[in-house]
Symmetry: C2
Amino acid sequence: MHVTVRTASKALSSKEPGRIATLIRENVLAGAAPAVFATKQHVFFEGDEKDCVFLIEQGVLALYRTTAEGKRQVFGFGLPGDVIGLGAAQVHSCNAQAITSLEVRRLPTSSLNRLAAEDPDFALKLYQAVSSELEAARDLLMALSRHGALERVTIFLLTMSRRNALNGRNPALITLPMMRADIADLLGVTMETVSRCLSKLKKCRMIEIIRYTTVQIIDMNGLNALLGRATYH
Amino acid sequence: MHVTVRTASKALSSKEPGRIATLIRENVLAGAAPAVFATKQHVFFEGDEKDCVFLIEQGVLALYRTTAEGKRQVFGFGLPGDVIGLGAAQVHSCNAQAITSLEVRRLPTSSLNRLAAEDPDFALKLYQAVSSELEAARDLLMALSRHGALERVTIFLLTMSRRNALNGRNPALITLPMMRADIADLLGVTMETVSRCLSKLKKCRMIEIIRYTTVQIIDMNGLNALLGRATYH
DNA sequence: CGGAGGATTGACCGGTATCAATCACCGTGG
DNA sequence: CCACGGTGATTGATACCGGTCAATCCTCCG
């Protein structure tokens, strides 16, 4: 049971900030100028030459890819402290779009490579950082796999709650900077279904929808029970 | 269109054998004794202490995890040449089960770590190997995301076909060492649905089911058309 | 030749997507 | 300060895909 909870909770979290962000801050960031993006602007597109990775300073972005038919799959949301774009491929393998106004720092991959070549410890950190992204991707797969819509939305809310807790914020008060459609494309359902599920949870007195962007969790145990267990963490 | 095809084709492939297997063969394998597993035996379980990773010499295995409700999600199938169990975590994050009789070599993580610490180039290779596993996981996510059952089965067949082509085998003659249930748990549908989809493809004269374990592709363009495009590769 | 495990096929039901109408929030301008 | 407009969210009606349960069927081995 404990393992399962860990899995579900990590499911939708972006890679942990971890020590890679710190190391990068100390070693690579010196000359890196910040860049600012407005809502809905893209930091990079799938297929773009990968000459930089990015450290998020302020704001939220979505990582996603699009199917041949134009359906979107969101892989996760990047928050301040996250490093996005890691991976050994020559081009970016997904799109990164600002969801709020966004401030990032560019980290040239050439600097990363140089540092990794000089310092095996840094190379190891890169390895660990990507490993944890791999875990996040598999956790998302598990979260979507064979779970109904209500369970998916519940997992999402609990994940956001847990992320709050890790950052020392109120785990019961969740702000959702992204639109319903973004959540839907993360969870692999439609916007309408996300909306219906939130309404249902509200009717069951498990949450309160303060505003479009703010959800209050009223019955944490109830939400966890929906996932087949009494408590979490 | 070209990019999309690449994506779909990589979707269900395990990580590329790549150069990591070669490097490991040259550097780590010297004293590694081979181990043999019978069908359905596990090489390791989720949560097991990760003291080794494994190079597959002969046979096929499935990597999977289980949800709280006991549903299985297969992440991929490991073929000869694949290295499985990579990742910086202290414990294995999924189960590895032999699908056929299986022969593997154990590679102590201590050796890998030592080698990575001495040789930045090797550490970089580890980074690349895990990066390509991350891509595979995201590709699987894309393959399952918002695709109907028939499309999922089609993607699976085309992926197996492509894997044959890469190995110099007949791309039109596919052997399926795994059971229908394994395919189902990879594609996120039921065994019955896999069966129905194969039957439907047979009725449409796109494939012929020679035996349970052998499928002949008759109309490659037809299969590709099902995915919304005329040709692939 | 027979048995057992795996695969196929069928009937039925429920959950979600889809299409469409209405509502709520928020910024803007009068 | 309030009315208005537009974007995003909610709610409703309906159709269909795929899950489930159950009854054969097939294939491989002993």
